[in-house]
């Protein structure tokens, strides 16, 4: 018995020793094998069945798709989906949400094709997500160079064609990703970030080309739009917004070297007219900021340019205001919409400008004509407009200069900054995310150009107009009558919310510092539904449909200029505005 027990003991101890030894061996095991770069991850079924996007689809997308920045080439930001209506939108609930892992301003629309959502975020990141279920399918991330000066860390989205996803990386590299895997297919250098150039726009894909523009108006850049072959990434054309000496428009610049650092950046996606093959691009203000340091009109800054998409040739332009001294970039391109004016139908271009004016223009194959212009917020800089050309008659007291301080409304962020307007063909209303009652001062100082360094030469302030009862304001304008139909004021917030209009009679926008994403009645501006996200909603909302169900998607993620403006308002109205936490997430909503 004792012997048997001893035997059992020996067996037990041996077994324990074996276990311990195995554990020790296990602890000494080398790291598990690393996945090799040439071993691709399995492609999820939803990506295996991803259907290439055709040029025809870009021209006429399916109702349930959102294939580009504003959904359609005309820039309307309008979805024909009508399942979610002003009657039932109160039942809208979140379906899924996904953290992006990034801070700063999340401005891009969720782009949806074949049930796959592509979302660009700050931090040079693109996410592919199962749009219905919210599963992350792949993540592309490109490190931002550590020595980069990135004034506006954001991205406004991706472009699609074929089986590729086009992304304008902040460090001025255009990248084509494989939609199924998120791997780079090709990369094309666009400019040199060490000279102040960066990119933040969603590429415009049209006519077999991928077109991008550059940011950097505060860093001494010379703006341009460049086109690349969508299949190969080879450069096709490049058109500067500030002409070379001797080129048309160069006569509006002084004889010196100002044109080399003249600004005119392009940081919002252009709109496109397939009938004329013209793309329309908004351009930034001249640089440095004070107009007296670059005497002349400074074409083609603060303008809209009509570019021949085949060649890049400038076929027409309209300069909203010459010789800018207020930092009024006019980068939001006009939307393409026909409207009634003086008893006739105008093939129109309509722009809601940072200079505080609603501009009604006419597009032709080789020219842009001025039709009308009127302020949509308090504007005390333009005494009048030339009735034929639309050229503003600027009040000289309101124009700052080197050593000369001027006080002006709207502020340097303008009546509407980058957040895009939306237009509904059902209501024939244009929805404008405006900022009212903000004014400022600016005084210029001499500034020396150093490549890649700040090149502004101005000191500015911001203030709230005396007696103001609100700042942010969602407005609706009838384009045929030229009248404002309704406006919804936000008492204690600026408005940095891109707008989505839908056929269900509902308009969606976030953009306030209380972190709400809202649905408005398209006909009267009444709030029908609101949902509070984790951060402020600066993203472009989108609508899509899968298996007959309509969804609304948007990114939450406060930052960049929405946050900068609030910091400035806090200086003059401390403690009145809440701290808005940063941190991005994608939200998808549907009816219960």
């Amino acid at each position: 018995m004792q012997k048997k027990f001893r035997l059992h003991l020996i067996v037990a101890v041996s077994a324990l020793a074996l276990v311990l030894s195995a554990a020790t061996v296990s602890a000494q095991q080398p790291l598990p094998p690393l996945p090799t770069p040439d071993t691709p991850a399995p492609v999820p079924p939803i990506l295996q069945s991803y259907k290439p996007v055709t040029q025809e689809q870009l021209k006429q997308p399916q109702d349930g798709d959102w294939l580009m920045y504003r959904r359609t080439y005309d820039g309307w930001g309008y979805s024909p989906l009508s399942q979610i209506t002003s009657e039932n939108v109160g039942r809208l609930k979140p379906v899924w949400t996904l953290a992006t892992g990034q801070i700063e301003g999340h401005q891009a629309p969720p782009i949806v094709s074949s049930g796959v959502m592509f979302v660009a975020t700050p931090g040079n990141q693109v996410l592919a997500i199962d749009a219905r279920a919210g599963n992350l399918l792949w993540r592309f991330k490109r490190p931002i160079p550590e020595d980069m000066l990135l004034l506006h860390p954001t991205s406004r989205g991706v472009g699609l064609l074929g089986d590729k996803v086009y992304f304008a990386a902040a460090d001025t590299v255009l990248i084509a990703l494989d939609a199924k895997t998120g791997k780079e297919v090709w990369t094309a250098p666009v400019e040199d970030y060490t000279h102040g150039y960066y990119m933040s726009l969603a590429p415009l894909v049209a006519d077999g080309k991928v077109m991008v523009g550059v940011s950097g108006g505060e860093l001494g850049v010379r703006g341009f739009v460049a086109a690349f072959d969508a299949e190969t990434g080879k450069p096709v054309w490049k058109t500067y917004t500030v002409p070379d000496p001797g080129e048309p428009g160069s006569e509006t610049w002084p004889k010196g070297d100002q044109w080399k650092t003249g600004g005119g950046s392009v940081w919002i996606t252009g709109n496109y007219d397939p009938q004329t093959n013209l793309s329309f691009w908004g351009t930034g203000n001249g640089g440095p900021w004070m107009g007296d340091q670059r005497p002349g009109d400074n074409l083609f800054t603060s303008s809209v340019l009509a570019l021949d998409t085949a060649t890049g040739k400038i076929k027409g332009y309209h300069q909203y205001h010459p010789n800018d001294s207020w930092d009024w970039d006019e980068v939001s391109p006009p939307i393409l919409v026909d409207y009634q004016h003086d008893g006739r139908t105008v093939k129109g271009l309509v722009d809601v400008a940072r200079d505080g004016y609603l501009w009604m223009l006419e597009r032709t194959a080789d020219k842009i004509n001025f039709i009308d212009g009127k302020p949509f917020v308090k504007q005390n800089v333009f005494a009048s407009l030339d009735p034929k050309t639309g050229r503003p008659n600027v009040d000289p007291v309101r124009q700052p200069a080197t050593g000369k301080k001027a006080d002006f409304c709207p502020s340097l962020w303008g009546g509407k900054d980058w957040p895009p307007v939306a237009y509904s063909p059902k209501t024939r209303l244009l929805y404008i995310p405006a900022n009212e009652n903000l004014c400022g001062t600016s005084i210029g100082e001499p500034v020396t150009y150093t490549p890649g360094q700040r090149y502004v030469g101005a000191t500015t302030t911001l203030y709230v107009a005396p007696g103001a009862d609100h700042i942010g304001e969602l407005q609706a304008w009838n384009l045929d009558t030229g009248q404002k139909v309704w406006s919804h004021p936000f008492t204690n917030s600026q408005l940095w919310g891109p707008v989505l209009a839908t056929a269900g009679g509902v308009v969606f926008a976030g953009g306030t510092n209380d972190r709400y994403f809202r649905a408005f009645d398209a006909s009267n501006g009444k709030i029908l539904w609101e949902f509070r996200t984790g951060s402020g909603v600066n993203g472009v909302p989108a609508a899509f449909q899968i298996d007959g169900k309509q969804y609304i998607a948007v990114q939450s993620g406060w930052g960049v200029d929405a946050a900068r403006m609030q910091a400035r308002i806090n200086l003059v109205r401390p403690w009145e505005f809440p701290d808005v936490p940063q941190g991005g997430s994608v939200w998808v909503f549907a009816l219960e």
Binding site: V25, L34, G123, E146, P153, G452, R454
Partner: protein, 191 residues
């Protein structure tokens, strides 16, 4: 087991080498940062020369005016006189202040009242060019981050997520000399 381990170690080594090879091919700036003395971050013993100066005369504390706006400088290798201006992240701002209000960390890093910090705002990477002489605060002109140079460049206001990296100084032969590397990574917040 040993043989297997050896194989795997070899495999990992080969992959690491391949990876390094890729990164070297893909990141010429990284290669420069690692091999070119002009790209290397400030090192102990480096001298300081004014940005834009024609010569390479090292800075002395008395050349900085008490309580005046910051002066920008590059570190310089004392052996080869290589000015480390190959990366903008090497740019340093210098201030000479009354040490009376310094916090302990700043006191320890200062040399005769001279303090040195990275000149690059840690928010989005602009040069910290503003100076408020009344409040003795540093400011970034781009997004208005404000730093207190007497309190180890802590963030007083604005979006900057952390203090400016500090560079400890000492005086050797009457000249300002770097005593230690930056206290943190110079440059904007990585996302």
């Amino acid at each position: 087991m040993d043989r297997d381990l050896q194989c795997r170690a070899h495999e990992i080594g080969r992959r690491a080498a391949l990876g390094l090879g890729f990164s070297l091919v893909l990141s010429p700036r990284l290669v420069l940062a690692q091999t070119d003395p002009a790209h290397e971050r400030p090192r102990e013993g480096d001298l300081l020369v004014t940005v834009g100066a024609s010569g390479s005369e090292p800075l002395k504390p008395e050349e900085l005016t008490l309580n005046a706006k910051q002066v920008f400088a590059w570190p310089m290798d004392p052996m080869t006189n290589t000015v480390r201006n190959g990366s903008r992240l090497n740019k340093v701002l210098l201030l000479r202040l009354d040490p009376e209000g310094f916090n302990p960390a700043t006191k320890e890093r200062a040399a005769e009242g001279t303090v040195a910090y990275s000149a690059i705002c840690v928010h989005t990477g602009c040069d910290v060019t503003n100076w408020d002489p009344d409040r003795q605060l540093l400011g970034c002109p781009c997004h208005y981050s404000v730093y207190d140079p007497k309190q180890a460049a802590k963030v007083v206001s604005g979006p900057a997520p952390r203090p400016l990296p500090a560079l400890a100084l000492k005086i050797v032969d009457g000249r300002l000399v770097v005593a230690k590397p930056f206290t943190g990574r110079a440059g904007f917040q990585q996302m």
